[in-house]
Symmetry: D2
Subunit: 304 residues, 4 copies
């Protein structure tokens, strides 16, 4: 089956399920999203691209942005990151403070909120204008200069972000946040509010399927070693508290966001982005996960 046919089959398969799951409702800008949206996009390292459904419609990428800041931080300071953030699955809810208390302010990995705060803190220490730096990276990777922060979402995140303030202050009490909490979280709330579509997303992360190199330009974004490592981190830490289940069912490195997006990597072959706003109880897109499972069933593409 050709990939476009695979996407069409998946699109057909998930029609009866559209609207399932629970749309994130902690901010109005997310709560109002139509739960029946569904888009999917594939970019291959050989230059092909495929998409279906609402693949051109922007959504809030939320935690998927943690990949971009980690790429920036790894570029700055690959070694000392891992003194301040672990790389183990959390084994608990993505925003738990319990783990931080028992492990002295060192978050378990860069993909839980607390870990992302530390990464964003490193980015804040490295760039005069961290929000511009993140946006520049996204523009380069996606080759779409119109991508921007959704200011309304960013403001809402800030207003409802008490738990993020709590975590960030808590880590600062252990000395693991170096910059002002308000500045760090301002950057963080903006990165979460990046508005992108499936095509942007899969295109922008294709370098992770190509040993760190953007196929279209040949630019080396990160080393092959760091590309492998980022994929490993996505597999063990990228899907909140459902990483094991996702690896069991799908078997691809992936990162999800509460906006309903998921990006998955088939090393050496392609990157896939899928979007469907309804979430499972673990906070991952319900139909996005289903679509990726169907993709693996139809194509046999899995790393195991």
């Amino acid at each position: 089956m050709l990939y476009q046919q695979v996407l069409q089959q998946i699109f057909k398969d998930i029609q009866p399920l559209l609207g399932q799951g629970k749309v994130a409702d902690y901010i109005p800008a997310l709560a109002k999203i139509d739960p029946s949206k569904f888009g999917m996009s594939i970019h291959t390292v050989s230059g092909e691209k495929f998409s279906i459904g609402d693949a051109k419609e922007n959504f809030s990428i939320q935690s998927i942005s943690k990949i971009y800041t980690l790429v920036l931080a790894m570029a700055q300071d690959n070694v000392s990151i891992w003194d301040r953030v672990g790389r183990e699955p959390s084994g608990s809810k993505f925003n738990s403070l319990v783990q931080l208390e028992y492990e002295s302010g060192i978050p378990r990995n860069p993909f839980i909120n607390a870990g992302a705060h530390v990464i964003t803190d490193i980015v804040n220490s490295s760039y005069d204008s961290p929000k511009s730096a993140i946006l520049s990276l996204v523009h380069k990777l996606s080759q779409n200069l119109t991508i921007n922060y959704d200011q309304q979402v960013a403001s809402s995140e800030q207003e409802t972000g008490n738990r993020n303030y709590a975590m960030c202050y808590f880590m600062k009490s252990f000395g693991n946040i170096k910059n002002d909490v308000y500045k760090v979280l301002d950057t963080y709330f903006h990165q979460c509010a990046l508005a992108m579509n499936c095509i942007d997303l899969s295109k922008s992360l294709l370098f992770l399927a190509n040993e760190g190199v953007m196929p279209s330009t040949g630019e080396n974004i990160i080393s092959k070693k760091n590309s492998d490592r980022l994929n490993a981190l996505m597999l063990t830490c990228g899907m909140y508290d459902a990483v094991g289940d996702f690896a069991y069912r799908i078997g691809l490195p992936a990162k999800s966001g509460v906006g309903g997006g998921i990006v998955a990597i088939v090393p050496g072959e392609m990157s896939i982005a899928v979007w469907s706003p309804g979430l499972s109880t673990s906070g991952n897109s319900l139909l996005g996960t289903k679509a990726l499972e169907l993709f693996v069933n139809y194509t046999g593409k899995t790393i195991f």
Copy 2:
């Protein structure tokens, strides 16, 4: 580089490090092991085999045995296993009772002790003589009929097994152990006490690199789907509380035991067993992990 040369290079590289790490000392039979032992063995799906060092010397495989019982349980009852055991990384020590308390007696995955108790409980419900059933499977997979339980180790495990009794009774209090605790743990302590060498181990688990089929006999041990799933479970849950670090550095599905053994799978290609008794603080073989990292560096074999 040919694989035998790779093994020789690794063996040379690790010479200055021999004796590092801390040999498990909770039972005398393990504590007395010479810390400078090192063996490594590779079996490929195409029928090649390579080994070096103490690859023919028996050691206590301990938690690696959890793969064999899981294979037996999946064969019986693939569905209902996952009502009684999760498949998420634990995010904490391998024998913690805290998680069991917060999650009502459902262990996080089949590779932590509590999860293995449940799997062994399923095996106990499925076979009149569970210890014979495990041994038969190991004999078939390794094609070595001399493999047996080390009764001295099994007895020692039982005598010092108070925490295992605590966990098993605790799960029974939630209704998640069906058989008598003493019978379940008798089987469990015996499976941990299987005495095998690197050649036996890598040979016996080669089916996991070959879509569930033993290449030498063509026998289907488990389905391709279940083989993928077992590899996924190993990657996300197989290395105690260092799964993320192991995936980051090595990037292969693997399972370790406190006897100092580690088995790793290169899907589609080979299985690798390594043994070195000195453990890291996470309970995994220090030089075994190092040897696998060198292997990946020399060969580029990783799933990411």
Copy 3:
């Protein structure tokens, strides 16, 4: 108001509430108790006694028995008890294993189950026949030689006691249980199964209101200092996870059991026993607590 009148008023007040609360149902022998039972008894240090309702009907004293074993242990070994058991409120459920894990097998106080196991372990080390020793103490204190263990309750406790086995094995894994777990818990399940009535109970614990001396015989059971300390332990640890609420509302040292009994001490004046099988969510007798609150309201007797 004379005390008999107070009891009559309380009895009248609680009539409309009889049957409220949830009778302990983890063993059949407790589950079948009539929830509308209510008895209350007072013994004063000056030799007066008052009772009302079902004060002469036996019930299972359960955790109240932890006072008797603690008295025996303090008599043996007042110092080293506190190396093995804390004397702080638990701040969590009475049978939590989490605390034991974080505090290396040292239970928080002698009135939670784990702490009582350690105390019973000390009694088991001190007496050839610990069950006889406990019974002898109860006979002496109550001056009622007919009091005995309810063997049916003891057997049921053992059959459903998986969590107690889990805790006891867990502490043994830390070296904090010296005797065989089965022997310790056999004693423990029997002490919980002591069948006594309100009159027996209040009489037997009157020495705690009289500086450690039984008023009727003049016998010194424990020193004044230890009597003060036992009252302090009851106040801070005697009412499961409702000690603060009980101190706030009633303000007397007290110990409750899931059989529905509560004993309270008015230092220098009297001991009070009350029984009503319906429990609150915290595991304390709902109407027993209410009756003691009324008693304090009518008499002003409180230590604060």
Copy 4:
């Protein structure tokens, strides 16, 4: 022995121990205090007063201030306080976030930091100028109008208060802080920075030994019932994670602060304040606790 003689004897007894314990050093203003300071003061309900040592020297009362804000909050809103704060001992460190996470943002009692934040939040909702309201109460109770906030301490508290910010934001994420976090903590950091001496302290809290009435003026500060309750809260929650030990050894309601002060109440008789900056590992004044233990030994005054 007369009380002045008792104080002299205590003062003599503790001389060889002066300087023991560890002075709080999280802010410079506390770290620089001379560890050999020791003062003690008694006020009786019959109007007598006794003091010794450095009883007239001001120190930072820190957590003892939680009594004053609780008195203000109880005056406003006795009922709804207990929907937002528990009254159970914490069973863990005084500034743990773990408990808040497991109990949905409801702190265990008003004397741990998180609980005091909620109480101060209530005071902030009740008074236009909460800092003035607290100061007015302290002036009235101590009859010393010179008492004031130590602004240097208050500023230092704010600068190092990241964990307090973390807790307060965390509770706000559960909806249990109504006012702006910065305003609530500004009040909180000031109340902690109240500079008072032993004489002020014991005088100001004498109403707790006199059924809620200031003996010198006859003014009713709180009802007898609430006075009993405050004493009960002090006994079960007033000494951080050493309430059980303190009740066991001393047996009086008390509240301590990391500045080295402790206030204890003998209901119906007197209030006692003691100050010695060296702290035990539980955060309570080491010699202050010792002095109160000696007081109880010499006088037999205990509530049990």
